[in-house]
């Protein structure tokens, strides 16, 4: 059992996500930084889909009511056990009565806490993830609150010794300015050529609304090619007849503030989506904070698939080393 003394700003139960229901309008939710989440589970010997806590910006204070192994990965938010600093990206032991707390976030935005056996909450549509927008899944469909008591599950599959860690080269570093790779396409034909260039050249600033649903970016106004709007599309030039939204797709309502749709976003709608964040950079997208800078970099589908393979290969190598 883990008792929540302080919940942090937005601490939710997440796993790989609710895969396979997109066509009925159910987004995946799941950890926003899948790389860090996956490594956290590897470090405690869990099955890959064991649920973990996704800690955002301001960490919780948690009281452990039994001995267990834990790990912490993701952005840098210095953790302490009973007030003593402990490392991230390493297998740690906590004993009954220990208290885990965090200092201010130093880099990145989200930390993943994995515990031996995983967090035990009901499985809904193949996942224990919290879908924040609708309020289902995870712990009672909501972020943790003070006084909540979490149970641990039985999804441990191997013993990983305390002190196990991964190579420094495999620990991602997060600065304050981010290059996020995108595949330009889908409805990019709706932008003028000048605005396509502007989209890729502008240093965008993430606004305070950035969350699991989407990240809104402040910068330049983008312009759309003039046309008579087709049947079914709204009157604004940024509207198109409804389409499915890829996870990580970027829409620009009225040309103002590109929004990257993320893990809890709606699955379809009527805004032109002009580019899509490549899957491996979604992990880094989840580690960007409000006020930080983003530049979108155009890559091909071939490059996107290669980046995904590299991430998967890195995770296989880490798994083999633990």
């Amino acid at each position: 059992m883990i008792k929540v003394s302080k919940p942090g700003l937005q601490t939710t139960v997440q796993d790989k996500g609710r895969i396979g229901f997109y066509e009925i309008g159910m987004p995946p939710s799941g950890a926003m930084d899948q790389y860090s989440y996956t490594v956290a589970n590897l470090l405690v010997g869990n099955q890959p889909n064991a649920a973990a806590l996704e800690i955002t910006y301001l960490g919780p204070e948690l009281l452990f009511e039994k001995d267990m192994r834990i790990s912490l990965t993701g952005g840098s938010m210095p953790p302490k056990i009973n007030g003593e600093s402990v490392p991230m990206w390493e297998t740690l032991a906590v004993r009954e009565g220990d208290v885990l707390s965090f200092d201010f976030v130093k880099s990145g935005a989200r930390v993943y806490l994995a515990v031996e056996g995983g967090i035990d909450v009901p499985v809904i549509m193949n996942s224990r993830s919290t879908y924040t927008l609708i309020g289902i899944g995870g712990f009672q469909g909501r972020p943790l609150a003070a006084g909540d008591v979490l149970q641990t599950g039985h999804m441990k599959e191997k013993d990983v010794p305390v002190g196990s860690k991964i190579s420094d080269a495999d620990i991602p570093a997060f600065g304050k300015a981010h290059e996020i790779r995108v595949v330009v396409g889908l409805c990019s034909y709706r932008l003028t050529e000048e605005s396509k260039q502007s989209f890729l050249q502008t240093e965008w600033t993430v606004t305070p609304e950035a969350n699991r649903i989407g990240y809104r970016h402040r910068g330049e106004r983008l312009q759309f090619v003039e046309r008579k709007q087709p049947f079914g599309a709204g009157s604004n030039p940024s509207n198109v007849t409804d389409l499915g939204y890829p996870i990580g797709s970027i829409q620009v309502p009225d040309g103002v503030e590109p929004i990257v749709l993320l893990h809890d976003a709606v699955t379809g709608g009527g805004y032109a989506t002009i580019a899509t964040v490549i899957s491996s950079d979604l992990n880094r997208m989840g580690q960007i904070k409000t006020n930080e800078k983003v530049r979108f970099v155009s890559v091909s589908m071939i490059e996107a698939l290669q980046a995904r393979r590299e991430t998967q290969e890195k995770l296989r190598r880490i798994a083999a080393s633990l």
């Binding site: 700003l9 910006y57 301001l58 305070p208 609304e209 409000t290 006020n291």
Partner: protein, 80 residues
């Protein structure tokens, strides 16, 4: 003259000096405060975090204005 103690922001977001637009500021420069008193709010992801003083003191000055965008570790207010 006692040293000034700064309260830093634990979050990126928007800083508010009042609980809502139609209410007065939580505190003014020169006010006495006790540990645990709220001096402002930070809004991020539509969550509001209460900024509290940790020790008794007197508000010296605010380093940021109401509705300013703030970053982690940014100085918000100092006590004297």
């Amino acid at each position: 003259m006692s040293e000034k103690r700064a309260i830093l922001s634990p979050l990126p977001g928007v800083f508010y000096r009042k609980p809502s637009p139609d209410k007065p500021d939580y505190v003014q420069e020169g006010d006495s405060v006790k540990a645990g008193d709220i001096v402002g709010l930070i809004e991020v992801m539509k969550n509001f975090y209460e900024v509290k003083v940790e020790v008794d003191g007197v508000i010296d000055c605010f380093a940021v204005e109401n509705e300013s965008i703030v970053d982690v570790d940014q100085e918000l207010v100092t006590l004297k």
